[in-house]
Symmetry: C2
Subunit: 332 residues, 2 copies
């Protein structure tokens, strides 16, 4: 395997996050499932936005958040995702490229607007996401830059890509290119409802070895194996004989390898302000650890650190340099 120029290339939905705080009864009044990501159409987006309070706008998108975090650690990242050439699309591109991330997917010049997720943050810090996919629906296999994929040590794909119709083919193509060039492929299961929609396909990806590394949280893992018991789900995952990283909110994060399970505690935070991006940033730290040649345990620690930073403020992109933060904590 020749040396790769990119540590991680991610393929994901390119989404601008629109954050507003609200009380729990807002979720009830608008029939929102707390903690989930729900897809909404343009009409619903308008209705919901009109009902929401004042907002903060921050670039988001699960896999893109992970790449932003990787770049903040000092890793070399690249991103493939579709935005329109509108104000939010240009903002989105700025926010990634200003971190040094290679983001060369062409803008959509027509069709729906840049995607946005209307995120309600309740007083407990939990986020409930309502995503209008917009321009993301225009991501196709033609956007998968073969050379860029071949240049990446790990190609990282989000399960959410199963939602826009053409993106799953892009996903499969990226996996094929990566493996042909000696790279590894990682997937995040994204959301328990997403797993529920695409369970068989996700299991197929794992069992047919289209992916080599799986990121999941507790709810996603239970959904994948259709069990209410975490240990049962974990045992099923171990039986896949794959590398996996599993987060469990405030409980220890786990790395599952053919050699066994390693657990590391979460990073302590003073106050959970907004959990958006916790899993994405955990993946950023873990992937940075793996691609910079660190042990699995240290990679878990970096993941926990990045997740801790992201939940201490609004927005799923780091507010401070994760490289500096990790240095201060003696992890780099």
């Amino acid at each position: 395997m020749t040396a790769k120029r990119t540590d991680v290339l991610a393929l994901g939905n390119a989404i601008v996050d629109v954050f507003a705080s609200a009380e729990e009864d807002f979720l009830i009044a608008h029939e929102l499932t707390k903690g989930a990501m729900m897809l909404i159409d343009e009409d619903r987006a308008e209705t919901l936005y009109a009902a929401m309070g004042p907002s903060k706008i921050v670039s988001g998108g699960s896999a893109a958040n992970t790449i932003a975090g990787l770049a903040s650690f000092g890793g070399k990242g690249a991103f493939i995702g579709k935005v329109k050439q509108d104000e939010l699309g240009k903002l989105y591109k700025h926010d990634l490229t200003s971190l040094g991330v290679a983001f060369d997917t062409g803008f959509a010049s027509e069709g729906p607007a840049t995607a946005r997720s209307f995120i309600i943050v309740t007083p407990d810090g939990e986020r409930t996401m309502n995503t209008y996919l917009g321009a993301c629906q225009g991501l196709t296999v033609a956007d998968v830059d073969k050379a860029a994929v071949q240049d990446a040590e790990i190609v990282y794909l989000e399960g959410y890509l199963w939602d826009p119709p053409a993106a799953k083919e892009a996903f499969r193509k990226a996996s094929e290119f990566a493996h042909a060039a000696g790279g590894r492929v990682a997937i995040t299961l994204s959301d328990s409802f997403c797993v529920d929609r695409y369970r068989d396909e996700f299991l197929g990806l794992i069992r047919n070895r289209l992916v080599d590394i799986v990121f999941a949280n507790e709810a996603e893992l239970k959904s994948l194996y259709q069990t209410a018991d975490f240990d049962t789900a974990l045992a099923a995952l171990r039986a896949e004989n794959i590398v996996a990283a599993v987060t469990r909110s405030e409980k220890d994060a786990l790395a599952v390898t053919p050699d066994g399970i390693i657990a590391e505690p979460v990073f302590p935070v003073e106050r959970i302000v907004d959990t958006t991006g916790a899993g994405d940033l955990f993946a950023a730290g873990f992937l940075y650890g793996l691609t910079s040649g660190r042990e699995v345990r240290d990679s878990l620690r970096l993941g926990a650190l990045a997740a801790g930073e992201i939940i201490s403020h609004v927005g799923a992109r780091p507010d401070i340099s994760l490289k500096t933060l990790a240095g201060n904590e003696g992890l780099l």
Copy 2:
């Protein structure tokens, strides 16, 4: 004087804030004057934005921030300001009206884009603002809704309105309507460089009683009276025989009235994250106090509380309900 339906109506530049963190050397490299508001043209805006890191977008504008704060306390606010009918303009309108603020100024349908301020936040929490006025330049006397102004107990105007060419006439007209209807008029001096640009006109507004209440910080007051000594500036302000509220960063805030000077300490904050909007939110609390019939000292306390909230996070609009916060602190 009949009862007014609005506590405070503000007239100001309607600006979307684009926040990015940067080290001090960014300010030097781009020749930015730390802590100041500088006006930039479209080319400069593009250059600066390209050099900035990832950003967060939050509605801003000095007087609008004050009205947002007033509404968060539970006050009845209204705003006059000009945005274009573009993505950021619609976002801007949403953020104010969702707080219950009356904002009925017509969108600009052509001409420059909605204004934005590129705000660099250094590690000490200080903000340096670079403002592209855009659509704000289209605010004219025709936008001053006479009935709305007459309905306000206090009309609040920002000194920054002297920058766009036509707005100062709107300012004067609003003052005239307010006084004719038995209302009071307040001005914030906005920025020491702004005072430097328009010193004689600002002194004229005070001495000709076009304004009844003055908000200033220490630097603005020194600039107004062209002295390096705060006590000299304060004595000159007292000699105007006017009501004024003066903030001094971490030092006590002062209320100056014909009866004397009242001082109240700042509200303690754990960490100063971003000072943007500190003066705006101080004004919000003070004005809410005055218009809800509170004593001057209590109004100072509400101002200090709101300023403390705003500097503890990125963005110049409150993250939490100031009414709730003030209730928790026993101030309401």
